[in-house]
Symmetry: C2
Subunit: 220 residues, 2 copies
Amino acid sequence: MPTSTVEDYLKCIHREERSSEGQLVSTGRIAQEMGVAPGTVTAMMKTLTETGLIDYEPYMGVRLTDRGRTLAAHVLRRHRLVELFLVQIMGMDWSEVHAEAEILEHAVSDRLIDRMDVMLGHPKVDPHGDPIPSRTGALEESDDPSLLACALNRDLQITRVTDQRTEFLRLLEQHKLMPGRRAVVENRDELTETVQVRPDGGQPLRLGFHAASRILVGRE
Amino acid sequence: MPTSTVEDYLKCIHREERSSEGQLVSTGRIAQEMGVAPGTVTAMMKTLTETGLIDYEPYMGVRLTDRGRTLAAHVLRRHRLVELFLVQIMGMDWSEVHAEAEILEHAVSDRLIDRMDVMLGHPKVDPHGDPIPSRTGALEESDDPSLLACALNRDLQITRVTDQRTEFLRLLEQHKLMPGRRAVVENRDELTETVQVRPDGGQPLRLGFHAASRILVGRE
DNA sequence: AAAGAAATTTTGACTACCCAAAAAACATAC
DNA sequence: GTATGTTTTTTGGGTAGTCAAAATTTCTTT
């Protein structure tokens, strides 16, 4: 059974693979994301290669094997079901559950996860709109546009927020910009690199391009 | 913050202190209970001494300091609240929750534990009848007699089972011998070292002295 | 094509665990 | 009160994960 450290590396590589379209993930990137020294990553990549979880080309980068991808999906499933459980059943705030789930994902048994899944009615997404992998590790990412790419002046539904920082989520909550809510993008300014968004029933908000790219909305 | 290994050692010393009336706990005993080599324990006792969690007298044994005892109680609180949560809220069987709690006790935050506590209505005991320490670490053990010391032929209530082995608990469940249920001790035989117990509504059962000593009943 | 910059890997070292087996201390018997 | 046996500690060694800094490779610039 993989250690929780190994699970964290797999999750990280999985995430970086998604956000860099089929490219190999560099060890430097992983080091930065994991908050460890570059040499530490190189060492870990060797052991992950030996256990058949990644393909590693020195100086080039790494890629998950099928086994590695399945394992990462299972960790993601645990993480996201736990997050939803904490919000729905335990009444915790969506802005605070990520840190908690980051630890619990390595501790809950499959048996307990299955119970949560049943109790929650086999949910498709977590409180941030992130899709929950199936028991077999199948994961279907939507290709919803972000506030940076969606239509202007149309009534849209927020579907997902891909930024887990507590303070950012709290801000969105205050402005009624959580998944399920509706909003209109009023304009984008290339010069100031900001997006003006008017949430349904919330205070209008001006977001930087990078922040805006982390809020996804339904296709029409 | 202590590692989960340290927490496990503290729990173990705490348990052994209880069951050996004020005596120092020997390193050999700890090694046996923890399933590690004797030398490993000696090394750990030194680091626990340095962090002020135990008093250690070489060749004699160890004793928890106040800090060590408080910390052990907090781990116990997490363990027992988690157990009760798994039974009451998640619908798991009392015979299987111990193993799960053994891991979760190191992973759940104080914030989550407090929520469970509220959700369960500030319970006093876990599914096995073990008392749940308060938030401050106060722990009140009852001095209920076991099936070995209680009155004969009296209607008694099971209050606690101090044996966490899954198979043993399953057996007791089949015989309706869980905390809350009633039973009568019909006789004790010193020669065969067995106790005959008749549970209310369950099949009578003959237990060895050692097993019988792990089932506690209310005083009258 | 060579120099300099940037990224990556290697090396040596550290912490927190763990074990096996030798050495030391303690307990008991005679 | 010495010999024997048991328990505990010490010693040497191993794995997983980490870092800092040196060495190497790759990329960029000219």
